[in-house]
């Protein structure tokens, strides 16, 4: 009897073996995994990187940003034509493009998509009040009328949130979301959707180059360890790095160096920084802000916290968007920090106490805070005392504009690929009184910093384009770097790893992976 029992148990476990039980992937679809689930495939409702990644495969935007930051027409036939007064942008559209429901893509689709996003889009604040109206003078030409000149609109036209959708299919959803379907013009069509798994197949009627694979299975796991384990045990083909722990990121990086996997990197786009409350004591004192900025050893933080995988940054604009790596913020120099603090009568028994808030649900934030605290203890123990305070992120966001936090660690990724998408949310202000922002974006970033000069430079930058505009925006950054309302820490990129049998993942300039370029190497 005992023997039979043991045999039964043995047979049961054998039956669990994948060869005898689980189905094999015979479809030759590539399995791409990332963190979390997709709640909505509606561009007006989607707000996670993962959803945007999938939407960008199912639809095309008017323009795309290449990996070196150049604007490439996609559904637009050519580069936008801007009127002399810069209030009218004419875009000629590509002909013979079909939506997945078989209807034709035309100027009405652009008008429908933009109007819908403006009305119900969760992220519609990215449009601001730039767009006055959209005209459709012909079937394949669209005119965007602006309220004021806006040179950042070019960048906005690459935004996945504005991916054209079929007006006929979405007719009943012009004022509400359609979460589980997507009808765009992209290289893939959606064949199955659940919050956890989405299957996409190549669009046989696609107007451009066809995908190099036979389809993608997109899957979400609810924790970093599962993602890591799934890649290591070859249960998935490609892993996207959003929300994967730094220790596992480092391990995958090492395995890639040893040719166990292939690693692809997006341009650096996610900025981590410390926001300083410039409106009240003690950080209303510029010298103290400067001293803090000089006390941060970014290289050490990057090495200790991210194993050197995140790039120390002395700029709040990603390098790809300003075509250089120039750091404008003060360098690490604790001796100079000490002399600045001494000038303000600190050190020698008078210690500057700085409460530093970090988001308790973001592991890297806590490690940044701890590393900085330890560094201060080593070099400026008699001058600064950093008091740590962990608060859950949604609470931090809610309280930022109330001016509760003296210093708080945050991060930011621009909603579209333009320096303005980094500068405006951090530095712009609508109402400035004695250098303090009373109303505007910098209030919501917790710095309360405002500069009339910066506001006038923002306005000037809207009226020009190209290199001159970039110079203006860099000038804005220089002003901020001298006033230090924020201390940039590092800038990080999206990463993706693929099995050796799959081609290396390639990202575009907006940090979106090109799923259609993934292919089985032995095919």
């Amino acid at each position: 009897m005992k023997k039979n029992f043991l045999i039964t148990i043995f047979i049961f476990f054998i039956s669990l073996l994948p060869n005898s039980c689980g189905s094999k992937n015979i479809s030759q679809k590539i399995i791409v995994a990332s963190y979390g689930k997709i709640e909505s495939l509606d561009p007006a409702n989607a707000n996670t990187l993962k959803a945007l990644q999938l939407i960008s495969s199912l639809g095309d935007t008017l323009y795309e940003l290449s990996s070196n930051g150049e604007l490439i027409p996609k559904l637009a036939l050519e580069m936008p034509i801007i009127s002399k007064d810069r209030l009218k942008i004419t875009i000629n559209l590509r002909k013979n493009v079909l939506f997945h429901d078989g209807t034709s893509f035309n100027s009405n689709a652009i008008k429908f998509t933009f109007d819908r996003f403006k009305n119900i889009g969760k992220m519609n604040y990215i449009l601001g009040n730039r767009i006055k109206s959209i005209e459709t003078p012909s079937e394949f030409s669209v005119i965007i009328n602006l309220n004021k000149p806006s040179s950042s609109l070019n960048g906005l036209l690459t935004s996945v949130y504005l991916t054209p959708i079929s007006p006929i299919f979405y007719k009943e959803y012009s004022d509400k979301y359609l979460n589980e379907k997507f009808i765009g013009t992209g290289k893939y069509v959606l064949t199955s959707f659940s919050n956890e798994v989405q299957l996409i197949n190549p669009n046989l009627d696609y107007w451009g180059e066809k995908p190099l694979n036979k389809g993608i299975s997109f899957v979400g796991y609810s924790n970093s360890s599962s993602l890591f384990g799934a890649l290591k045990s070859k249960q998935i083909d490609v892993l996207l790095s959003n929300s994967i722990d730094d220790i596992q990121r480092n391990s995958l990086n090492n395995l890639s160096k040893n040719k166990k996997f292939k690693e692809g990197n997006s341009p650096f786009s996610e900025l981590s920084f410390i926001s300083l409350r410039t409106s009240s004591y003690p950080l209303n004192n510029l010298n103290l802000r400067l001293a803090l900025a000089k006390s941060i050893n970014r290289k050490l933080i990057s090495e200790k916290v991210s194993y050197g995988l995140r790039k120390p940054s002395r700029s709040i604009i990603p390098p790809i968007l300003k075509n250089d790596n120039q750091g404008l913020w003060p360098k690490y120099d604790y001796l100079e920090a000490r002399s600045l603090l001494q000038k303000e009568n600190y050190c020698n028994g008078n210690i500057l106490k700085i409460p530093l808030t970090y988001r308790s649900n973001v592991p890297a934030d806590k490690l940044i805070a701890l590393t900085w605290q330890e560094e201060i203890k080593n070099s400026l123990k008699d001058c600064i005392d950093i008091e740590l305070n962990g608060v859950e992120s949604t609470t931090v966001y809610k309280n930022l504009s109330l001016g509760i936090y003296t210093a708080v660690i945050l991060d930011w990724t621009g909603a579209y690929s333009d320096p303005e998408a980094y500068l405006t949310p951090l530095l712009s202000c609508n109402e400035i009184v004695d250098g303090i922002c009373k109303k505007g974006e910098s209030v919501y970033s917790g710095s309360f910093w405002g500069s009339n000069k910066v506001e006038s430079l923002f306005l000037e930058s809207e009226k020009i384009s190209g290199h001159k505009r970039l110079e203006k925006l860099v000038e804005i950054e220089k002003i901020a770097a001298n006033s230090i309302p924020y201390i940039p820490i590092w800038i990080s990129s999206q990463k993706a790893w693929s099995q050796n049998k799959i081609s290396k993942p390639i990202f575009n300039g907006a940090g979106i992976i090109s799923l259609s370029d993934l292919k089985l190497i032995d095919e």
């Binding site: 029992f5 476990f13 669990l16 073996l17 994948p18 039980c21 689980g22 189905s23 992937n25 479809s27 399995i31 979390g36 689930k37 709640e39 909505s40 409702n45 707000n47 969760k122 992220m123 519609n124 604040y125 601001g128 509400k176 979301y177 979460n179 659940s194 919050n195 956890e196 798994v197 299957l199 299975s217 899957v219 979400g220 796991y221 609810s222 924790n223 360890s225 599962s226 384990g229 799934a230 290591k232 045990s233 070859k234 249960q235 998935i236 649900n361 608060v391 859950e392 949604t394 609470t395 931090v396 966001y397 809610k398 930022l400 504009s401 945050l410 930011w412 949310p425 919501y444 970033s445």
Partner: protein, 340 residues
């Protein structure tokens, strides 16, 4: 109607009458606690970069600018009509979300209890048979160890061993990524049987095996220990000795008298375990990316999706209260010693 049955009916009615009060207290507490908890759903939905106009617009749209008392009354009124509202983040009816994710939790719960029983009962019996011997001590330690292991740690260890190291089990999910799952009731094993799809049945069992066996193993300690202790106590009781003296075979005594009596406390334990698992084994679902109701609750909390959290908590409360009621009535029916 016999006197006993009438008494049981009265007892059941008394218990049922308490349910609405319990649910009202729970739903009010959930409403208050969510509003008191720091954080703003608007921030969770559109991030911290949005301007105040967009925030206000979204707050108005979601009804978050209404006075709290108005929000509370409309919330209670909606619950009375079994309308849990719409998810703040997806605008999908909360009841739909619950009904989509609940079968996954219930399926995991059912198979975990089954595994716990299949592992726990034989171990309890083996322990009793070898009373005082080395095997008994080993099984006692094993029993205590299983229910003292933190479930999330056990889950991670099992995942690491069987999915990553031995590669015999999928890392997570309910069904192969590259295949379409049968969609009839939401219970994949049942749906596969109903659609006569053997491959789907194999696939769903294959995905269910590791989470349910691991959870079952961690729960088996309670079952084996309870059975071992209760059966031991029953076998030493006077009525068993009397039966032996009357010449009734040991097998008959064990099956007809001792075992049913020893199982009574286990019915209570099973009921309570089932109730708590049906509401979702939170960390298990997170570890195995199991798309059940607990994982949905976890995500809703992090998104400050008030309506979804409220809906799930009330739904699971109804479930737990109903299962407890069922267990109480069942015990009252099975055990004539219980006064009611």
């Amino acid at each position: 109607m016999s006197r006993n049955l009438k008494k049981l009916l009265n007892y059941s009615l008394l218990k049922i009458s308490l349910i609405p009060i319990m649910l009202w207290i729970i739903s009010s507490l959930v409403f208050i606690l969510l509003r008191v908890a720091p954080g703003d759903p608007v921030d969770a939905i559109i991030g911290s970069g949005a301007d105040e106009v967009s925030r206000e617009f979204l707050r108005n749209k979601l009804g978050l600018n209404e006075p709290l008392i108005n929000q509370y009354f409309s919330y209670i009124q909606n619950i009375l009509h079994l309308d849990f509202g719409q998810s703040l983040s997806t605008q999908e009816p909360v009841l739909n979300i619950i009904l989509k994710s609940f079968p996954a939790s219930l399926e995991l719960c059912f198979f975990s209890i089954l595994s716990a029983t299949l592992i726990g009962f034989p171990l309890g019996l083996i322990g009793l048979r070898n009373r005082g011997k080395k095997t008994d001590y080993i099984l006692r330690i094993l029993g205590i160890a299983t229910y003292s292991i933190p479930p999330f740690w056990g889950a991670m260890l099992a995942q690491l061993l069987f999915s990553v190291f031995f590669k015999v089990s999928p890392i997570g999910g309910r069904f192969p990524i590259f295949q379409q799952q049968p969609q009839i009731t939401g219970f994949l094993v049942l749906d596969s049987i109903l659609s006569n799809n053997i491959i789907a049945l194999k696939d769903s069992l294959y995905h269910l095996a590791l989470p349910s066996i691991t959870l079952g193993f961690l729960l088996s300690g309670i079952f084996s220990r309870s059975l071992r202790v209760n059966l031991d106590k029953t076998l030493k009781s006077d009525y068993v000795n009397a039966a032996i003296c009357r010449g009734i075979s040991r097998k008959k005594i064990f099956l007809n008298h001792a075992l049913p009596n020893a199982l009574l406390p286990i019915v209570t334990i099973s009921g309570l375990t089932m109730a708590s698992l049906a509401g979702g084994a939170l960390l298990f679902e997170v570890t195995f990316s199991w798309p059940g109701i607990a994982l949905r609750l976890y995500e809703a909390i992090s998104q400050r999706d008030y309506t979804l959290v409220q809906g799930i908590v009330i739904f699971t409360s109804i479930l737990i209260v109903s299962l407890n009621l069922f267990v109480d009535i069942l015990i009252a029916y099975l055990d004539p010693r219980i006064e009611y």
